[in-house]
Subunit: 182 residues, 2 copies
């Protein structure tokens, strides 16, 4: 079997397959990407959970609390980056994105298990100082449930092969790939 | 043995111990943090290798090619974030930093094994389009060797415990910790 990372088109196929796996397999490296945004005092980066992927629309979806800093940041500046380092595959995936936000989506909210709904809502709001770790009252609240849809405009890959480091870039709207110097 | 993440001071100690481990142990989660910067078109995030840690100076060090995009970005805007997700420890470490750059450091260059020096220099420069993955000529060049020193101004941790999610923030100059809502 030929190495998929030796060709541009199969490299891009790998990206979409691995992103799709991240929405289903808790152990996939694509399950927990790092979301980077631009904050008031510089860049911010945090782990998020990949909730959905649409290869046709070129979007990925994550969920958060409406009162979190990333919602404020993306409201002000919708440019975002999603980053994955898959150590087992020796593969880095970098997605350049623009975010749109949807608040309190009733249909999506209904699909979230009751226990997981506790991640949205609660008092005080995320990031607020509390006297003790348990001084936080989880109170699931659909109004605080925000869907972040990331519209991907560019994909960059770096595969550390045994022979070579292969770096490639794919950009909307053609998504034609190009090799770039590592 | 009590859980170190149940107390603020031992949580901070864990961060510094784990960062130090990342400079020595290739398998430590802290070996390959994600560096986020602010680019012309939004945030950028990529995997880097942790080269040195100084808990007294509150700095960490990474190495790169002078012609890389991150050098241009940090020259323009020195604000940076370093992000680590340690899946085994259920621990997220977020470092807010300011970067200073040093070019062509002779002493550090001399300590880099010859084979590893190939990561700095080479033609064409990183990110430039090439016709094939092997259309890149590695040519070690000390002039292209850049040290990025990240001066940490804030540390945020999130530990996903079996009972509670514990989130804490520590900031210069006192580094006194505070619990914050997860």
């Amino acid at each position: 079997m030929s190495d998929p990372f030796h060709q541009l088109d199969s490299t891009l196929t790998q990206v979409w397959q691995r992103l799709a796996r991240g929405t289903k397999d808790r152990r996939a490296a694509t399950r927990n990407p790092t979301l980077a945004t631009v904050g008031n005092m510089g860049p911010q980066a945090r782990t998020v959970v990949l909730r959905a992927v649409d290869p046709n629309a070129k979007t990925v979806e994550i969920h958060t609390d409406r009162r979190s800093l990333k919602v404020a940041e993306l409201t002000k500046n919708p440019n975002a980056a999603l980053h994955i380092w898959d150590a087992k595959a020796n593969l880095q995936i970098r997605l350049r994105c623009t975010a749109t936000l949807t608040h309190a989506d009733a249909e999506k909210w209904a699909q979230i298990p009751e226990n997981a709904q506790r991640a949205y809502g609660g008092s005080p709001a995320p990031g607020h100082e509390i006297p003790r770790p348990d001084a936080h009252d989880p109170a699931p609240n659909r109004d605080d449930f925000t869907t972040i849809t990331l519209h991907i405009t560019e994909i960059e890959t770096l595969h550390l092969g045994s022979d070579l480091h292969r770096r490639a870039r794919f950009a909307a709207p053609s998504w034609q790939g190009h090799w770039i110097a590592p």
